[in-house]
Amino acid sequence: MASENIKNKNNEDYEIDTLTNDRLIKDHSYDGIRELDNDLPPWWKWLFYITIVFAVVYLIRVFVFKSDDLIQEQEYANEMENVATAKTAKSAGAAEFHVQLLTDDASLAAGQEIWTKICAACHLADGGGLVGPNMTDDYWIHGNTVEDLYNVVTNGVIEKGMLPYKNQLSDQKRLEAVSYILVKLQGTTPANPKAPQGKKY
């Protein structure tokens, strides 16, 4: 380590590190490791002060003012209240919805997408059924009309494990899925069809 001895104006001995011209601390040597007498970098000190101020303000906002955005139950209540207001405004203007079989390609393609993403988890992608019933045969447990199927998808059959989708899929999307079943899946031959359930139509 390059260093040299210098005397300051009070005639005290001190050493400097010649590569940086910083002052070395006397007697600080550990297995040859020396330490410089540098002060804390000012930007570092300011960073520390700012974070402390932030922390204090933050804690005061939580403990003293109980600010809405920092008390999570309140934050949640506010989020839900905003949504409720928006929903009421929207439903007032919505047109009446008709449950009618869709046969156009766009709707059926949309229906297929929903089928693969959601329904297939229990009824399998080819509709052969596994946990849920086979959707390709002529046997139905809860009826075979578009209204019957729409009703099952909307409200579910909880005791049998079929979930209600009214809070997950819009009216239109539920109808698309149901139309896909009736138009596309009905009458096909799946790889491993589940045994018929319900009554033949």
């Binding site: 590569l19 297995d31 490791i33 020396r34 330490e35 540098n38 974070t51 209540a77 297939a120 946990v131």
Partner: protein
């Protein structure tokens, strides 16, 4: 002044060096394996010992305690005697420490694949191994402190401060977090339950990062950077300030792992505030490391050792900038439960911990074996491959985490979740998992180059077992020393002060969680688990389901819509251990059993899904768990389990453990088997799957069974 002669024994340094290299390879190989398992879910081939959820704890514990751990001990056993001018206090204690630690690692590598775990992250080891860890840690501490006592220098150097803080704090954290009551030789329940257990665990978990992955590595940095660069430490004053600020502030930050959980707002707020204040003290370490290299940057260009150190310290700075940012609740609302966290921790581990270990060993190996590094060029290649690998690992995961978080929160204009099917959000980010595995592969290739280089260096040299040194006897203290300088001359007092400083934060946060009733408001409908559900829960814990599935619905519209009512502190009171999880590779399961909610699945679905997840969801990345269907449920410990839980306050009827519990278990199992039979599935009621289904079908049910007006704040 008369010089005293003494000798350093390098034997333990050599042993720890070998262990570091060996466990580095093993730990990272397991990590690479599980990175590929996330892309190829059937890679485990139906073998229970190789499934992701059992290997993941092996990876985390392996790299933390085996790779980094042995590296820390290497640094301590090499630098401490030289800094204190005395040999290590006891060779015998050193040997016990070394072999005891390796035994612990081997036991971990056996027990985790067998599904023996406490399920607390980085504290998964079962209780008999915990006892061994504590014994070995005390042996290490005794050896360290007695060496300090016998020193020839008056003052202890900053590296030693960090070693001392590491030792006392890890001792406190490890013991407190692992207080468990055994039900058998291999199983136990924690004395803490639910949200309290979670707070203690993350006080531990966060500070394992602080006091195992940070403070000892800073100690390592303070010795090896000035040695390798032959430069003085930038600022002694900065050392003092950042050391004390760091150890005092760090211990408070644990609750930032539980933001938006059912932890009370006051505790979360403390976690946030102290995490923000940690930024400057952490960066104090970084700048003291980097600025020490002033005047040596020309060397950094050529020397792979210094290059490794520079990237290591810079990665430390990046990770400790990101940490406070992730502690802000708005950022955490996005990052938590996603791959963002995985990216963040790997900047710390691949960047900081590993690079520091590599740099140290590249510097030490030639010195311990009195030769030159076999190939500087190869070491430089390692450096570039490792740096690139780290970026290929982390950047895709940042992107994945951010993307998935936004998808979880996205609503359609009609007010429905845009991606109601969780799997869609996984499929979307799967390409990022491929890139991560590629980055991991690069990093591992770099590691192999490191092993070759170290091996060749050792083969070319001759081990220097004993090194002579000399120093004057310990001088008397000088008068008029500054207060901190005085403290540096009194290591035992120094240790006590450090202990007091690290105890404050933990006490302020943890004690009120026990003493103040309002922190965990009682929910009357929450009942203890039935015997079968309890056994099913223990299977859930043992298989490591919590590693991919959380049980903590946060109070956001998007989560309540997707999963159901957000999690309350009072519903966790019988959860030993808590199962909040920290990552959602799959959906949250806190409400899995509630029939009116979107995630409900019939028992037959669970049966089919455990057997072959891809049959139900072709794109699913969940591995199969076929053994759950074949293996019998072991109920021999049921009475002991019920007794332990009763002693911890679960209100089972008097004498329930002796007879009635088993009858109830069998009755419920028969019910589930009958339910499956009705769905066309034949399975004996004494199989593990039955218990697991019982548990899954119970999740969230008690909360929804209660008075909906008072318990459920919405709907």
């Amino acid at each position: 002044m008369e010089l005293q002669k003494f000798t350093y024994d390098n034997k333990l340094s050599r042993m720890f060096l070998y262990a570091t290299v060996l466990w580095g390879v093993v730990g990272m190989l397991v990590g690479l394996t599980i990175a590929f398992e996330l892309i190829f879910p059937n890679m485990s081939g139906g073998l229970e010992w190789l499934v992701f959820s059992r290997l993941r704890p092996l990876h985390t514990n392996g790299v933390i305690f085996a790779f980094v751990g042995n590296g820390i001990f290497l640094a301590v056993y090499y630098s401490t005697p030289r800094l204190l001018k005395t040999p290590m206090y006891s060779k015998t204690l050193g040997q016990i420490h070394f072999w005891g630690w390796q035994l612990i690692i081997v036991l971990a590598a056996i027990t985790f694949p067998l599904g023996l775990t406490q399920s607390k992250e980085y504290a998964e080891l079962i209780w008999p191994i915990d006892v061994l860890v504590v014994i070995i840690w005390v042996v290490f501490g005794l050896n360290l402190i007695m060496t300090i006592v016998k020193r020839r220098v008056k003052h202890i150097y900053v590296a030693i401060w960090f070693y001392i803080a590491t030792w006392v704090t890890i001792a406190v954290l490890y013991i407190v977090n692992n207080i468990q009551i055994p039900t058998s030789f291999l199983h136990s329940y924690p004395v803490y339950a639910g949200i309290q257990d979670a707070l203690v665990q993350w006080w531990y978990g966060h500070n394992a990062v602080a006091f195992f992955l940070t403070t000892p590595i800073l100690g390592m940095m303070y010795y090896f950077i000035p040695k390798a660069s032959n430069r003085p430490i930038y600022s002694y004053k900065l050392s003092i300030i950042h050391f004390w600020a760091l150890i005092f502030l760090y211990i408070w930050a644990g609750p930032h792992h539980l933001l938006y959980s059912s932890l009370p707002n006051w505790a979360q707020a403390l976690g946030v505030a102290f995490s923000i204040m940690l930024l400057a003290p952490s960066w104090g370490g970084m700048i003291n490391g980097l600025l020490t290299l002033r005047g040596a940057w020309d060397k950094v260009r050529e020397d792979p050792v210094l290059k490794m150190f520079v990237v290591g310290v810079t990665a430390y700075g990046m990770a400790t900038f990101e940490g406070p940012m992730l502690s802000l609740k708005t950022v955490n609302a996005l990052s938590h439960f996603t791959d963002w966290t995985i990216a963040h921790v790997h900047i710390g581990t691949l960047g900081w911990n590993s690079m520091m270990n590599f740099g140290m060993i590249y510097w030490l190996a030639p010195r311990l074996f009195k030769t030159k590094l076999w190939s500087t060029k190869l070491a430089n290649t390692h450096f570039w491959i490792a740096t690139t690998g780290m970026l290929f690992f982390a950047i895709p995961l940042y992107f994945a985490g951010f993307t998935q978080a936004l998808m979880w929160k996205q609503f359609t204009p009609e007010g429905y979740l845009a991606y109601p099917n969780f799997l869609e959000t996984v499929t979307q980010i799967l390409p990022m998992y491929y890139l991560r595995a590629f980055g991991g592969t690069l990093y591992f290739i770099g590691l192999i180059l490191f092993v070759i280089n170290v091996w060749k260096t050792i083969a070319a040299g001759k081990f220097v077992r004993y090194q002579e040194d000399e120093a004057p006897a310990k001088p008397a203290p000088k008068p008029n020393e500054a207060w901190h300088r005085k403290l540096e001359g009194k290591p035992l007092q120094f240790t006590v002060v450090a202990l007091v400083v690290i105890l404050i934060g933990g006490l302020v946060e943890i004690v009120p969680m026990y003493l103040v009733k309002s922190n965990v408001p009682t929910i009357p409908s929450i009942k203890p688990y039935s015997p079968l559900e309890l056994e099913g829960r223990d299977i859930y814990v043992s298989e490591g389901c919590y590693l991919c599935h959380s049980q903590m619905v946060r109070p956001f519209r998007s989560e309540v819509e997707r999963y159901g009512e957000y999690t309350k502190a009072g519903e966790t009171v019988y959860d030993r251990p808590f199962q909040f999880g920290s990552k959602r590779t799959g959906p949250d399961l806190a409400r899995e059993g509630v029939k009116s909610l979107p995630n409900y699945k019939p028992s037959s679905w669970h049966y089919n899904h455990m057997l072959n997840p891809q049959k139900l969801n072709p794109e699913s990345i969940m591995p199969p768990y076929p053994w759950l269907i074949e293996k019998d449920l072991d109920v021999s410990d049921l009475p002991a389990k019920i007794r332990v839980l009763t002693s911890l306050g679960a209100p089972y009827p008097v004498g329930y453990a002796d007879g009635q519990a088993m009858k109830d278990l069998q009755a419920q199992a028969a019910e589930i088997a009958a339910d499956l039979h009705n769905a066309g599935i034949e399975v004996e009621p004494d199989k593990q799957i039955i218990a697991l289904i019982a548990y899954l079908q119970h999740l969230g049910v008690d909360l929804y069974n209660g008075d909906s007006q008072t318990q459920l704040s919405n709907k």
